[in-house]
């Protein structure tokens, strides 16, 4: 599958929502935990060798499951392949919790659900549709009940 790698690389250079050095392993046989610079930008998680400018890889964080594993460890897996896990060993339990929370909210789908929720709540409270001012109130993707996860 082709993709605009150049733009993705450019995205990887943007200021991150969250970044840290974390030990990480990929779901490959014999894979061990290695120290990586892990960077969350929009709904992508980039991971770099700590001294390199270009990421080794990127994970699109849609339809994924973030699981708290044993102490200091969390994993990312994708719904169509739940047994293939990317594991992350943090420096502390606190750091681990922060990342789990941040990653759970990092998907576009999560944002969409939030938008629909807030829109509905505001409409109930004020009687006004807050999306009207943006001219996007009719768009299908913002309708209540249209999207199910």
């Amino acid at each position: 599958m082709r993709y605009n790698e150049r733009e993705l690389l450019s995205l990887a250079r943007q200021p991150a929502e969250k970044a840290a050095e974390i030990r990480m392993s990929v779901p490959k046989k014999g894979s061990v935990l290695k120290k990586r610079l892990v960077k969350l930008v929009v709904n992508f998680l980039f991971y770099f060798r700590t001294d390199e400018a270009e990421p080794i890889g990127a994970l699109l964080l849609e339809h994924c499951r973030i699981t708290k594993e044993e102490e200091n460890v969390f994993s990312i897996s994708f719904i169509e392949e739940p047994e293939r896990k990317y594991c992350f060993e943090c420096a502390s339990e606190e750091q681990c919790q922060e990342w789990v929370e941040a990653l759970k909210r990092a998907s576009y789908e999560f944002l969409r659900r939030s938008l629909i929720f807030y829109r509905n709540e505001i409409q109930k409270m004020t009687g006004k549709d807050p999306l009207e001012q943006y001219g996007i109130s009719e768009e299908a993707r913002f309708q209540l009940g249209t999207h199910r996860q």
Binding site: E7, V42, E62, M125, T126
Partner: protein, 270 residues
Amino acid sequence: MKLNERSVAHYATCDSPADHSGFLRKRVERHHHHAHHYGTSYQRRWFVLKGNLLFYFEERESREPMGLVVLEGCTVELCEAAEEFAFAIRFDDAGARAYVLVADGHAAMEAWVKALSRASFDYMRLVVRELEKQLEEACKSLAACRKSPRRSSSSGRKRHLSNPALLPLQEKPAILENGYSTWGSGGCAPGGAACPEHDEGQAKPPPLPPRRRSATGSVTGSPAPSLSPAMLESPVSPDTICFSKLHNWYGQEIVVLRQEWQERQKRGHL
């Protein structure tokens, strides 16, 4: 650079609803060595927009996407191609190629341009944070309405406004500038109790607070035409400390306006 392509492809083809889809002709860039110009040919592909990802398939029935365009840091504009109903996705990165796409007709072109210009994660995040703030304001004004408006500007209401404990919705508070000017008509239910202190339509909107540079950088997509200019410029900062400052700043403005209203009420000018 590796990408979790299998999962991405799965996301593209799974039954979660697409934000937009349809046939578009995609310009193929081919460089003719001899002629020193780009030959232009177009290939018809089935396009599916999901979130900030634009997928294209060889055929509508194809099981796997041919390609993906990540829509962050791009602008979408109509373009001066020989083709009618053509538009381009261009990236901020100077050397990057543009994607030129051709729709079947004017309505389709408009719909695509509209959908694509609002597709970025950044845009979505901006809107969500704005709504978060609006909901908070609606809660506050609803609570304020419930307290009797005839009471003189008591410490109760002042406390109400500047009490950070009344921000239950904000787990990651964000600043958006110019929150009041955008919705001048006030936050209370029109059908329900009208809250006089929120009659911002009569009062002048507060001046813009000092701008803050976003921690999340400037990966902004093409602004949708109907967004107010202030919204476009407003960076978002997840800094908690700054939010309370901004909150107090607006709070002071409200307190003054409310006092003025109360004075007028006492004098029977309303």
